[in-house]
């Protein structure tokens, strides 16, 4: 499977997700949110995980840290960290070490992730205390405090002394996201998962936070998995992009390649739907229909019902990931020479493009 997708060698991978399946159960019905996802995250890269609501992108991010809600369950697959540890089968104690020390996460709404009743300083120190075994003596605590201040400095909060004595509600949204980031960095993780970290922020603050992430990525040699619905943010900060739809990875590759010549009709449709100034006076492209229900089995391609290129084969058989153009793995019959997809009569733009080497 791995060689088929043209993925990089496993030893470069910080995270190698193999055939991961996640289900949610509610009131007797089973939602297969992730039917079997393969995804490799290479060290030192910023990988953008994009999709609309219901694409399973947040579920995937939560599954990595085993933070799924109580009715969610990993039913198959492996999540291999550093080529050695399978996160789906480790003990509770091992998992506790992985969280924070290897993989840290920041969320869209820092106010709900920070404890409203404790001061920032206490929370920054507690993270370090918890991972030092819980019982620490005074000199350590003092050291932790200094470390917390240094981290706040690093994330662009110069007035760390005063900040340590503040409660989360006293800070602005941008400051809270910086505090969250500082806290996530405090155990020096290799991988930072950022779930829509800028979606609730104003545009100038968003620009600042993206700048901060870019800066700490470079200075700390971090790998970042950036979950977002905003394609322009992906263009801004990511090296690679992974496009998800209804639980499946539809396309992945280098951002510049995928955005210039998207190979999957869903990726093209998403890119075309972004309103910009250059569209003034013209109607915007939209994607008709809705994401299919994930209850029960889905036959054929998950995007077929909304795809303007769909043919009988698309409704009958699930496409396999193939390399096409400059995208490394595209799940589309149109791009698979062996799929039996009929190209005759299609507009030339729909035919697989041959991209000249740069």
């Amino acid at each position: 499977m791995a060689s088929l997708n043209g993925r990089p060698a496993v030893d470069e991978a910080v995270l190698d997700i193999q055939d991961l399946a996640v289900e949610y159960r509610s009131r007797g019905s089973v939602m297969r949110v992730l039917p079997g996802v393969d995804l490799t995250i290479t060290r030192g890269q910023v990988v953008g995980l994009v999709g609309e609501s219901g694409s399973g992108k947040s579920t995937l991010a939560l599954a990595v840290l085993r933070l799924l809600p109580a009715n969610g369950k990993i039913t198959a697959g492996r999540i291999v960290l550093d080529g050695t540890t399978d996160l789906t089968s480790i003990s509770r104690e091992q998992l506790r070490r992985v969280r924070g020390e290897k993989v840290a996460m920041i969320f869209q709404d820092p106010l709900t992730s920070l404890n409203p009743t404790f001061k920032i300083g206490r929370q920054m120190i507690d993270v370090q205390t918890a991972h030092a075994g819980g019982r620490v003596r005074w000199p350590d605590r003092k050291q932790f405090r200094q470390r917390a201040m240094a981290l706040l400095h690093e994330v662009g909060l110069p007035d760390a002394d005063q900040l340590m004595g503040s409660y989360p509600h006293q800070l602005s949204g941008g400051m809270r996201q910086r505090v969250m980031t500082a806290m996530a960095l405090s155990l020096e993780p290799e991988l930072l998962i950022a779930d829509e970290p800028t979606s609730a922020l104003d545009v100038t603050t968003e620009a600042q936070i993206l700048g901060l992430l870019r800066q700490i990525k470079a200075s700390r040699d971090l790998t970042i998995l950036f979950v977002t619905h905003d394609l322009s943010v992906v263009a801004e900060i990511c090296d690679r992009v992974v496009v998800m739809y209804a639980g499946q990875v539809m396309e992945q590759g280098e951002v510049a390649d995928v955005f210039r010549e998207p190979q999957h009709p869903y990726t093209s449709a998403l890119l075309d739907a972004v309103a910009t100034r250059s569209h003034r006076g013209q109607p915007l492209n939209t994607i008709p229909g809705r994401v299919p229900s994930l209850i029960g089995q889905i036959k054929g391609c998950r995007f077929a019902s909304r795809c303007s290129y769909a043919q009988d084969v698309c409704r009958a058989e699930e496409p396999r990931p193939v390399a096409s153009g400059s995208s490394e793995a595209v799940r589309c019959h149109m791009r698979d020479p062996q799929s039996g997809y009929e190209h005759a009569g299609l507009p030339s733009a729909a035919a697989p493009k041959v991209v000249p080497p740069p």
Partner: protein, 348 residues
């Protein structure tokens, strides 16, 4: 009632000669005073000047985009324009009439002609009413038409929703569908002005584009004027004819969408435009984002409110309040150094 059939569609009812502007704000201020409940909660004694001497005007079928970050006062401005929030001073004129001085009957008429689409569609739709009742409600409130004439199906069709949704409750709708129901309610009485507060917030990209298409189409078909309040610059860049940029309660720049985007004259507008993530030029093309954050409106900086964050600020900016001046025809800016800003070149 001179219009017997309350059906939607057709040109705006009772279109008037174009001489007075559709909406005109004259030196409008809204202060939340310390004895207000909101101010008490915030532990505030001085009062918050949420809207500070704003003058704007827009004509029929025009789209005016008001852009600003959270705390800029744009939502308060929208509420004051619709008499949903009392103005502390200044005046709102709708088609020439002073909205603040309207009597009861005139206010009723005003509520038909000028309506609002709220930001959160789910919280602005009663959870206990079906879509059909929600769409009938505007007619019932305004005592228009008998039961069988309520054009529920037409309204659903107008906002491109299937008729079967008429029996649904709001919680059964997706975000985009609920937003459409909100728009259909707003359109029911064929208003001349729609104030839309963040019309695409919280929607997926495709759903957001569909809403923008819908607003464009309805404007072309009905000649409705829109006051669009948003922090999303791509939305105003796509939709608006003219743009007003707000910062801490004040309008700092106005102009046509092209002018404001291509040659921003205020340093804050430049910063906003430079902050737009750019799909085309990619990540490395961006200049340093503007430093700092919007200060609390409870305690605004002296002089020009933007001076602590402004790369162009000079000593005089700390003390002198810049007034909105005409920089070019149809173009206003409130900055002491706008000529230097203009000659500093394109921000992106």
């Amino acid at each position: 009632m001179t219009t017997p059939a309350p059906g939607p569609g057709g040109p705006a009812a009772g279109a008037q000669p174009p001489s007075p502007p559709l909406l005109r704000l004259e030196d409008l201020s809204v202060t939340f005073s310390p004895d207000g409940a909101l101010a008490r909660l915030a532990g505030n004694r001085r009062g918050v000047r949420a809207v500070d001497g704003v003058s704007l005007s827009m004509s029929d079928a025009e789209v005016l985009g008001v852009v600003g970050e959270s705390g800029s006062g744009k939502t308060t401005l929208a509420l004051a324009a619709l008499r949903l929030q009392r103005a502390t001073s200044g005046r709102v004129r709708f088609a020439g009439a002073d909205v603040g001085g309207m009597r009861r009957q005139a206010v009723r008429r005003f509520r038909r002609d000028a309506v609002m689409i709220f930001q959160d569609p789910h919280s602005s739709l009663s959870p206990r009413m079906r879509v059909s009742s929600l769409l009938r409600e505007p007619y019932v409130i305004h005592h228009i038409g008998p039961d069988e004439q309520y054009p529920v199906a037409e309204l659903l069709d107008m906002v491109e929703l299937p008729e079967r949704l008429a029996g649904s409750y709001p919680h059964e709708l997706s975000g985009g569908q609920a937003r459409r129901v909100g728009i259909a309610r707003a359109l029911a009485l064929r208003p001349r002005l729609i104030v839309a507060d963040e019309p695409t917030a919280g929607l997926d990209v495709s759903a957001a584009s569909a809403i923008l298409n819908l607003l464009q189409r309805l404007r072309a078909e009905h000649g409705t004027g829109y006051l669009v309040i948003t922090h999303a610059l791509n939305v105003v860049g796509y939709l608006a004819d003219r743009i007003a940029v707000m910062y801490l309660g004040r309008v700092v720049e106005t102009g046509s969408a092209e002018q404001v985007y291509d040659t921003p004259l205020h340093p804050y507008t430049r910063a906003l435009i430079a902050s737009i993530p750019d799909m085309d030029s990619g990540r490395r093309g961006r200049q340093q984002p503007v430093a700092g954050e919007i200060p609390s409106p409870r305690n605004p900086p002296s002089g020009c409110h933007f001076h602590p964050r402004c790369p162009f600020a000079i000593e005089r900016c700390r003390t002198d309040d810049p007034v909105l001046e005409e920089a070019a025809p149809g173009r206003q800016v409130a900055c002491l150094r706008w000529r230097e800003v203009a000659s500093a070149g394109n921000p992106t």
